[in-house]
Each structure stands twice: as C-alpha cells, then as structure tokens.
Symmetry: C2
Subunit: 755 residues, 2 copies
C-alpha cells in the first residue's frame, strides 16, 4: 500500500482551521502522565498506550514524521520499585498468599528521581515491544529543558532528531528526570514525589523541529469558557489567542503541579508559545476509553476533538453560534402570523425569478469548477445545474408551500373542558431546529427553507461542496426574504468546512436531522447521528404481488411502471411475487416478455427456480434493493404466503397487490404504504396530495410513509385555569373532572379543497 506523503505547511505559519491538519507532515505527540500511567483501579493505561502506538505507527506509515514526548517513567518506576520493596519485605508471605494482598501493605515514600531512573528502561522496552509490532523502529532521547538554552546542545539535539526522522525512526523523548533539579510534591502519585510536566518541553521541541502540529494529550477535555460542571460551561472548539475569552480546564487533572490555575497557565502558555513559533496545537483528552483508540487520527483528520489553537480567526460565526442564532430567530418565526410566514415564502419565490441572473452566474461558477475538476458524473452535473425553467418551477413549488403554511403552526388539534373554567388545548408547534443535509443539488435549498419557514422551524443547511457558490447566493436570497419580518437568522448555511459527522453530534442543539439524497447518505447519517432523530429511510425493498385473481390488463401496466418508470427510486419494485397458479398461463409469459423488452435483469428466488428447467441466476438474498433495471421473481402459494414473504424480506416501505379481491392483503400487510391495483411509484408526498413533501419515512414512530409539513411539527398542551390545583380534585376536594371534548375547527386544507 502506498500512501501519499502529506505536504505540510509553509514554515512559520500555523494552520488556519482543523481541515488543514490533514496536511501536517511533522507531528509531535505529547503524552501526559495521566495518559501513560494507570487509571484509578481498572488500569487502562496499557490498552491506551497500545492504541496510541498503533495510531502513531499508522501515521508514520502514511509518510508523516512522528515524534513522541512521553511522561510516565516516574509512575512506571514507582510500580517497579514498589514491587521490589515488597518482595524483599516479605517474599514468602506475598508468594503464598491466595489473594492479591500486595495492595494493602503500607509503602515508604519513594524519591521521584529514583522512580524515574527505574522506570525509564521499562517504559522504553514497552514502547519498543509495541512499535516492533508495526515494524517501526524507535529511538530513546532523554533531554532536559536546560538543553534548549545552550545553543550547541540544541543544535546537537536538532541534528540527531533530524537524522532519526530521515531514517524513518520514531524518536521517543522524555525529560532526563534522574538529573533534573528540585522535585515537587504531588498528592496524586501516592507516595511518590513528582516532577514537572512535559508541556513546555514538547512545545520547545515542536518549534525547534519546525513541527506542523503538536498534539498534547492529558486527562483534560480541552479549554472551557467557564468552569466545567457549571450551567454555562462549553468546550471551546477553536481558541484564538487574540480573543480575551475567559477559559478553564476540562476536569481537574490529578497529575500536575498545583491546582487548576497553575496547570492552565502552564499548558496554555506552552500551547501559545508553540503557536507563535508556527506550530499548530490541539489539546485533548487521551484517557477517555471510548475515544482514545482514534483520538490522534481523528485530530489529524480535522475532526472536532479537544481545543484547537489557531492564530487566524475565520470570518463567519461558529456552527454552535449559528445554531443559537437560528433557534432564537426561529422562535420569533414561530410566533409570526401564518400569513407572515406565507409572505416570506412568496417573497423568496419572487426573488428566485427576479434575481435569476445572479443565481445562474453563481451556478455557472460551480459547474465550471466541477467540469474542470472532471470528477463529477454526468447525472450529478445535471442535478447541479440550474436553468431559468428550473427556477420557475421552483418558484411555483414554493408558492404551493406558502399555501400549505396557512394550515400548520398554531392549529388546534384537540380541545377538552377538563373541569369548570379549566380548558385544555393541544396545539401544533414547530419541532425546533432542523438540520438538513443535502448533496450537490442546489434546488434543495429554497425548497427546504420554504418547508422550514412554513412550519416555523429554525434551519441549518449543509450543502454539498460542489454547489457552494450557488448555495451561497440562494441562502442570501432566503435571508433577504426572511428579513421582511425580522427573522433573517432563522435559516443558516453551514460552512463547507464543517464535517457532517461533527454536525450529527450536536445533540443538545439540533432536534431533527433530515438527509436529502442517496440512500448511502441517509445510511451514513443514521449511523453518525448520536441521540438526534433522523427522518428518512435508507431502504426501499418494494414488492408487487400478482394474485391468482389478478386482472390481466392491470398486471403488465403496473409491473412495468413499478419497475421501469424510475428504477433508482426507493419506491420502485425490487421483488415480483407471483401466485403459483399463474406460472403456466400466458400471463406469465407476457410478464417475462415485457421485462425482457424493458431489459430488466431477472434473478430467481428459490421457489421460482425450482419450477423452471433453465432458471435465471439465483438471488443472493431476497432482501436486495437493486435500484436498477433488475429484480427478483419469487413464487408463492397464496395471498397469505405473499404477506408472510413481504413481512420477512421487505422493508415496510411500499408493497402492491394486483387482484380483484384485496381486503385481506390491505388489512394484514404491515407496510407504510399498501397499494391495490396501483403502481408502487405513487408512494410520494406530491402524488399523495400532501402538498410539500418533506421526505419518506419507514420509521414506526412519528411520521410514516410520505411525509408532508406535519412531519415538521410536534404539539404542545396549553391549559388555562383559574387557580386550579390537583388537590381540588382529591377525595377531600371540591371539584370534579368533566373531560368534555370540545369541537375544533376543521383544518383549513379540507375547507379549501372542498370549496
């Protein structure tokens, strides 16, 4: 396997944002004592160290130059000396004890420098044994901070390390603790007097060696804006030294000199010093069991881990700030009159045609870039490109959404007189903040924005990089339309810098994620979303069942339409089920002839294959979504067997029966859409007459099947009383529940349509 060698940065300037860290060629990884030594009782350090070695070796094998600055020799030596002392204290007792009673014995205080000396060899042996597993050589380098003050020593160190890196060897650097001056007391390493942490050493080394990146791992998460654990505390993703933010550490570290303040001082000073010297810095937690296995590679891949120190503050707000703005502005949007939300949408529709030159010019830039890059397939290029006609159609669609907006937020769904003067209403309200992720398809942007505005939701938009210019203009127009009622910030366009995976982790800030695009996109997002519901479906294994009582003229029409109208759609047929009685009839031949004429590749299910002398290729799995001119044919003995087959192999998306007597099938089949004598292709919000389509869901809670605007709404209960208490209704109380259902207005849509 051949890896591309990373480029590294122009020397003297650090990277501007996390995405650039991928280019880091020379990287210093600093491991604090908390990372290298044991945990409290579960002793995680070994696994931690192994996975850190693994990541470093992997990055080294990618052609990067890796250096490790390690602490831990003291703790390692302590372990060893302790063991030695115990053995000499009572060899017999320890060896013959059935249980591990070593821990209970009292220990003398050990001198830190002795521990360091005893630990150094063991620690290095461990690193070497581990790196050998990856065919990676290591070299031990012991230095003290003083070595940097002497020019000659510094130069010697520099050329030694350069030579090691050139030979593809990972230098493992530690302070020469056995010879450094005054040890300081430390309450954590029980019975051991500790020595200073390696932060400034790592920073000096990184700058001296012109490293691109310094990753400082310890047991703190990063920098916080206020003390962690308090109500407002947030981890700072990117720290700009220019900002006079007040900062605090992640958790009180157990290993270190002094309290939080001292440690903060020491760590941040070291980081800022390295940054000034041109090395980017990330401070992160290297002790968290769930992430340690990929913390270093995640950082190098640009993911949001810990706190990144950057000199250059980007122009736009952070995505967290955008979400805040969207939520606040969204609350105002939700409180507008429905007419005002409609006005905004109509105004956006106007802007799409009025300002089409501006839009098309931006779109042309995107297309030119894509064509020059030459990697977009024609179908994607087609989706990416806009035209005056497309914009007109978009505007028409938006006006329909504006009509639907009249009948959403604030609609009363239920009214109950709970008791005298105590009335309850259930009201439709927006879900909150939506995150819509779409691919290189810029027409999504105004559509989705209109849906969000109509339903009073705040919206974060994350579009494909390929449409960046078009999206920027379309988003400006959307904000222009929103401004007419003072809710400009309710729709936010997330920077193309942001990783989808990072967005899917904002679980306290985003209420619903809607992926618009390929089933692969949906699957990825369902996997990445932690604690945020995802509206969508990733599978559409749709069946058409031709019953014994099927009417011949309907069969050919419906099967052709279901499979061939648009084979890539999620509502296209994937499996054709045929009643056994049809097998030897002319209808069967007609079906096969039609599929052949349409060039549909046929796969045979096991039952079907057993009936044929020469069978087509056998299916691998009857749970396959071909998404192409391909399908599986299987034979069943009865309608009941068809139902059972679909329950077993289907994805509950859309299933069709062709027959003259369908009620049993319609009743029993448990799919989101069950059709009788109609093509599966009707499973679609627009075709269903839901007005605006939000998507199709195969979930079993919230919306199911094609989802209209109501999928973007939830409800709240409003109770109006006059001093009522629960005690009033107790056995001793004076009041009685009435629970009278009161009439609610018919939804506007019905009124409108029945005119």
């Amino acid at each position: 396997i051949c890896f591309p060698v990373p480029q590294g940065r122009a020397h003297g300037s650090s990277f501007a944002h996390r995405g650039e860290l991928r280019r880091a060629k020379r990287i210093v990884v600093k491991l604090g004592s908390a990372v290298v030594t044991r945990g409290d009782e579960c002793g995680l350090a070994l696994g931690r160290l192994a996975s850190i070695v693994e990541q470093v070796a992997m990055l080294q094998n990618q052609g990067r130059e890796m250096m490790i600055v390690t602490s831990g020799a003291v703790a390692f030596g302590k372990q060893r000396l302790r063991h030695e002392i115990l053995l000499s204290q009572s060899v017999r007792q320890a060896l013959h004890s059935g249980h591990n009673q070593l821990k209970d014995m009292s220990m003398p205080v050990l001198e830190a420098r002795a521990c360091a000396a005893a630990g150094q060899s063991g620690l290095m042996a461990l690193y070497e044994a581990m790196f050998t597993q990856y065919s990676t050589c290591t070299a031990q380098v012991l230095v003290t901070n003083l070595d940097f003050h002497d020019d000659q020593k510094r130069q010697n160190l520099n050329s030694t390390l350069q030579e090691l890196l050139r030979m593809n060897i990972v230098p493992i650097i530690n302070t020469n603790d056995a010879v450094v001056p005054p040890p300081e007391p430390n309450s954590d390493l029980l019975g051991v007097i500790s020595i200073k942490d390696n932060d400034s050493l790592a920073a000096r080394l990184a700058v001296e060696m012109k490293a691109d990146l310094l990753i400082a791992l310890s047991d703190v998460e990063g920098l916080y804006n206020s003390p962690p654990g308090t109500d407002d505390a947030k981890l700072i993703d990117i720290f700009y030294p220019g900002d006079q933010q007040s900062i605090t550490y992640g958790t009180k570290s157990r290993v270190g000199i002094g309290g939080m303040e001292a440690k903060l001082c020491c760590k941040v000073k070291a980081a800022l010093w390295a940054l000034q010297g041109g090395t980017s810095v990330v401070i992160a937690n290297g002790t968290h069991p769930k992430v340690t296995g990929h913390v270093i590679t995640d950082i190098v891949e640009g993911k949001k881990v810990g706190t990144f120190f950057s000199e250059i503050k980007p122009a736009g707000p952070t995505v967290e700030h955008q979400t805040e703005m969207a939520r606040n502005s969204g609350r105002t949007l939700a409180s507008l009159h429905p007419d005002q939300r409609s006005e905004i949408i109509c105004h956006l529709a106007e802007l799409l045609t009025e300002r089409k030159e501006e839009i098309l010019a931006a779109n042309k830039m995107d297309i030119d870039l894509a064509v020059n890059a030459g990697h977009l397939p024609p179908a994607m290029l087609k989706r990416l490109s806009l035209s005056p006609a497309k914009l007109n159609n978009l505007a028409i669609g938006l006006r329909q959404i504006a009509v639907a907006a009249q009948d959403s937020v604030g609609r009363v769904l239920r009214r109950t007189r709970v008791a005298h003067n105590l009335e309850l209403e259930q009201i439709a309200v927006p879900i909150g903040v939506l995150l819509v992720i779409f691919e290189a398809r810029p027409d999504c942007l105004p559509q989705v924005s209109a849906l969000a505005i109509a339903s009073g939701n705040a919206l974060l938009l994350k579009g494909g990089k390929e449409a960046a210019n078009t999206n920027r203009v379309l988003h400006q127009l959307t904000q222009e339309a929103l401004s007419m009622h003072g809710v400009r910030e309710a729709v936010q366009l997330v920077s193309t810098r942001e990783e989808v995976e990072d967005l899917c982790r904002l679980d306290k800030m985003i209420d619903l994620i809607i992926p618009r695009g390929s089933s692969q996109l949906v699957r990825n997002i369902q996997r990445a979303a932690k604690g945020i519901p995802v509206l969508g479906h990733s599978e559409g294994i749709c069946h058409v069942y031709v019953d014994a009582e099927a009417s011949v003229d309907k069969v050919i029409k419906i099967v052709r339409d279901s499979k061939c109208d648009y084979p890539a759609a999620c509502n296209a047929m994937e499996t054709l089920l045929i009643h056994r009685d049809i097998l030897r009839t002319p209808l069967f031949d007609q079906i096969i002839d039609m599929l052949r004429a349409e060039r549909v590749k046929i796969h045979a299910g096991p039952q079907f294959a057993s009936f044929l002398t020469f069978s087509p290729s056998a299916v691998k799995s009857m749970r396959t979504e071909y998404g192409d001119l391909e399908c599986c044919i299987e034979v069943v003995d009865s309608m009941q067997e068809a139902v059972d087959h679909i329950h077993k192999y289907g994805s509950s998306h859309t299933d069709v029966i062709i027959t003259e007597n369908a009620e049993q099938f319609l009743q029993q089949l448990d799919s989101a859409c069950v059709f009788w004598n109609a093509s599966s292709r009707f499973a679609d919000g627009y075709r269903f007459g839901l007005g605006a389509e939000v998507g199709i869901s195969t979930a079993r809670i919230h919306a199911r099947g094609p989802v209209g605007l109501e999928g973007l709404l939830t409800t709240k209960w409003v109770l109006r009383g006059a001093g009522h208490t629960a005690a009033d209704f107790s056995e001793q109380g004076t009041m009685k529940y009435l629970h009278e259902n009161l009439p609610v207005e018919q939804p506007l849509a019905v009124q409108r349509d029945s005119n």
Copy 2:
C-alpha cells in the same frame, strides 16, 4: 479493595444458564491466532492483547483463577524472522529509505516450527510486560497434546498448574510448537507454514484442571443456524448439544486448517468435549474492535456474547422466540374487530376480581420473600403489595381502557381522492412489538397489557424480580383473556433471567420500549437502547413563574400544590421564578412563609441571592431536579426573562405562569405543557382526560407531553386503484391529479363524550 471470591460450580456439572457464569471461579481463556496476531493492515492485535490482559488481570484480582491458552507464537516469530532476514539482506537500503518499503520486498517461505521457536520468547516477554502493569505474575507453560495421553505427564502438568494458581500466578499455556509433528499448509499467514489450532488443547486443559468456564476467542462470532450472510442466518445464543440444530460458523476464519467445515468440526468437538467434562464453554469473537475491550468480562457477567454451550435446556422459550410469537399473534390481534379487543380487556378485568385469591396468594409469596430478604424499603413494599381494593380499582381502569379501545386501530385519519378511481386513506395501525420494562409494581402488568391489547400491539413484559410470583399469575390471566379470540401469545412475560440490557439490543425485533418506573430506570434504558426508540422522559425540571400581575389568592394555592402535592413526581415544581416587583411585597413573604410551613428547603439562584442580605444556600445548578421538598427560587425582571430562563434551564416538561395576562407566555414558551393559573401537577394523562395513560414524553417527535393510546399507534397509507400507473399522469399521460380531501368520520370519543 476486597472482592468477594466467586463460588464456582459443583464439580462435574456445567452451568445451566449465562447468569450463573458470574460464579465461575476457575476460567481458561483461549486466544486463537487471529486474536493474538495482527489484523490486515491496521494492526490491532497489540491493543487487543492489552485489553485482554487487562480483563484477565481484573478477574484474577477478583479472586478468580485465570489461565490463558495462547496461539500466535508462529506469527510473532514470523514477524521477527522476517525482520532479521530483511536486515541481513539489505541493511543499508532499509535504513536509508525515507518510507517504509519493507513490505514490498519478496520473502522466502519460513518454516512454522522455526517461527514458533523465534516467537515464543517475544510473545512471553510481551505478556509479562503487560501483566506486570497490573502487578500480576505470569508463568510460561509449554505443552503438546501428547502430554495429556501420558498419565504421569498429565499429573505433573496438573500439579504444576495447581501450584501456580495457588500462588496467584496466571499460567500462560502454549503448544510446544517447536517440537510437535507435521506442520500443515495455511494460506493466511503468507509465507508461513502453520500448525494446528489450540482448541482441543484448551478443552483438555480446562477439563483436566476442572475449570468452571472455557472462553474460546477467535475471529468467529459464534455458531449460526444457517450460513452467515444468508437471509435467515441468526447467531445461536445458547447451543444445546441435545438439539440436532444445523449450525454454521460466524465468518470464515482466515487462520485455521481447511475450510469452515473442518474448523466447525474442530471447535465444536472441543467445546462439546469440555462440556461433557463439566466445563461450561462460550465461543466468541475476540477481534471485534468495539467489544474486545470487554468481551471476557461481559461473558463472565452473563451477557449475551457469542454462543454459550449448555447441557440443560431451560423449560421456557427463548426471548427471541417469544418475540416472534408475540409479533405473529399481535398481527392477528390487530386484525380483530375493535369490539373483540374490548371484550378481551373486559374479560381480563373480570378475571382480576374473580380470581383474586389466586393473585393475592402469589402476591403474599412475593411479599414474604421481600420481607425475609429485608432489603426492600417500605415505599417499595407498599407498591409491591396488592389488595382486593387495588384489584377492584385496576378492573375499573381496565374497563375504561376497553372503551378507549373502540377508537384506535383502524380509525381513518385522512381520505383523499387522488384521481378518478384512485382513493387514498391514512389509517391508524399498531406500532408493532412493544417492550415494557417495569419495576416491582405488579399492577403495571394488567394495565400495560390492556393498553397494548387496546392498541393492537404485541407486548413483551419485563417485570421486577421482586414481583415474580404475582407477575406470573397476572400474566396467566392475561393470556387466558387473550385466548378467547385466539391471540394468547400476543402478550409475553420475559423470564427474570433475561438482562434488561440484552433486551434493549433486540433492535430488529422490538419497535418501541416503554420504561415504567423511576427516572433512573428511564435514563438507564435510554442509554442501553441501541436503535430502538424509547417513549419516556428522564427529567422534569418544572417552573412556576409568578408574574407581577399575579393574583394573590392563586399564587399560594398553585405554588403549594405544584411543589408539595407529590414532590417526587416529574411534574412537581423545581424552580420558582418571581418577578422582581413582587420581592418587596407582602405576597413574597406569604410565599416564603407557606414554603417554610410545608418544610420546603429553599436554594437561592444568583439573582435572588443578590437581593437578599442573608441568603439561603446558593444553588449549584439551576438545572436541578430535586424530586423532594426542595426548590430553587430565582428572580427575573420580566415575563420575557422568565421565558428565556425556562428555555435555558428547563427540560421542556411542564411550566406554569401565574398572572392575569398570559398569552405572550403561552405562545412563546416551548414546553410540552404550558399552564396558566393551574398547578403543574395537572400534567398527567388521566387528568388531561386522555383515558388510559401510556406515559409522559419530553421527546420532540412522535408523542409529546402526557401520552394516551394514540402514542402506541402509527399510521399506514392504503391506496386503492384500478390499474393506475405514474406514467398515466406524466405529460404524455391521460390522467390528472385531483387531490380532493374527503370527509372522515369524527372520532368515536368525541361522539361519545358529546352525548
């Protein structure tokens, strides 16, 4: 720290079920080559080994006797010899190469026995270095299968190992590969001729040493009922040798002799042999990155990992089988007429009173057991115990649910004429299979069963161990009632053996989990549920805001009721917000006097504290749910500030305003329940008049706030056509969409109540 020493089993008989594995005292862990040696390119083995060592050391420290049977010396030695050969081939080239080109060089075929000899020392050194981290001693023992055939040798081995275990040393056993006979070819370890796997050695050793448990880790998941990857393949949780099940391995293992068949033979034979000898066996995957860190401890804790070999087949069906039965029977339940579902529920209500002696007798057994065990607090004992009066009330509640059942499944929610002869209906249907987890509160069982029956859902019940006898009888009565319409199996009681965590992982089988119990239970289940939605709320941080325009007589009543009526409830007030203008009025003193009289402990928010000369204790966080006679008081300057405060610190459960002019608050506040001049305690399904209460949800999708039967329903779309295709509606087509909304019947509830 002192660990209880596990008991172990009675010798000669293996453990009957997984839960008993906790008692395993002597454990053999067998590591296949795939576990010890590297992965394909990412080289995970080291981290894997480290975490295995960690788990073994931890179990050893618990007082268990651990033995390791390890493979991997061959691969380890191969790595080493390869390195040596390369170095001698071209030292200069290798050392001066900027990139790692070692991989590209062609290698001679190495002899396996030579590799084994070269690898043995390195492997042992690695184990020793790792175990030293946990203050655990190891000993190397090399054996061959032949050693077991010679009685003298076997006895020597036995007494050596016994002595090592007695000295609290972990024996690490490997085949003496350097001296064993015919090596066999192996395609995986490129360029190395491999030797036999260690399965039979581990089995022999386990039986010889009378081990309680043999954990055999390799790269297969366990046994499957049919070839993995095929449509019907399922991992076998427990394998009973008596069953003539057809079985297959998890994944084709890359290391081993011959193909799957040979390996299956070898592994299963070894496992069965050990089982016959009285040692329990679990076969599991030790290479899966996400679980390796706890695979051994999980197995010892009785979790469902891999395949457990057991000689004794328990009487009842497995939970997977129960779920299947429930789903099938539930489908029939859903297809019954609403009257039939009501009949079942009414019959169950009758049985509760008719058969009360039987129920109360079982309940007495549970209470006696709990009293004798003496660990149940009085409040729990009260909840556990049933009485004739409680049963009567239960029956009354069930009859109400029977009425509600008339108006649920099958209700048409929307009708649309899509086109001529093409009609669409949206129909309420059951969600599918519900899992309800409840604590020692047996009255939950008939209630929840009635709710499931009313909504046509299949139900798995998992009750607290303390109520096992009562639950068994109540469940029998439920099944008796269900039998009247042939759907006996729709409600299943899960064995108390099953772990809640395992149930929460059945994500393809269960559609919705409903925890009924403490907020701690809900939190645990929300954490454990992987991919299954959970209906419930874990937090209720409810606010009461006393506005400047509050009417004095309402304030005292509502604040008292909200806080003191039932302080442990989720809808009890936690924070009292007071408008600044009230601070210096008599009303303020009245509020404080009332809270003091009710013995409510007051915590002061920062604003409130700043107004007082002598403040009560400051709050730690304004996001605290006290669940007791405690609350936080904070001061705000305006209604808007109250709204902002609640948005920031609240949990969107229930929030109250006391004022004479509330519309702004009611409109802006985004909580599930927003009340005006009424106690927060009204947030409850029964008080809302929803009939049966399923629970309270603070989620933003699906049901929100108090949830009635409709929270157990989803919808499906039924389209009835006459051969319609999407192509008919294309530009070239002959049809036009009408999208006419057709009237639907008013829900029965409204008709009923307005009579």
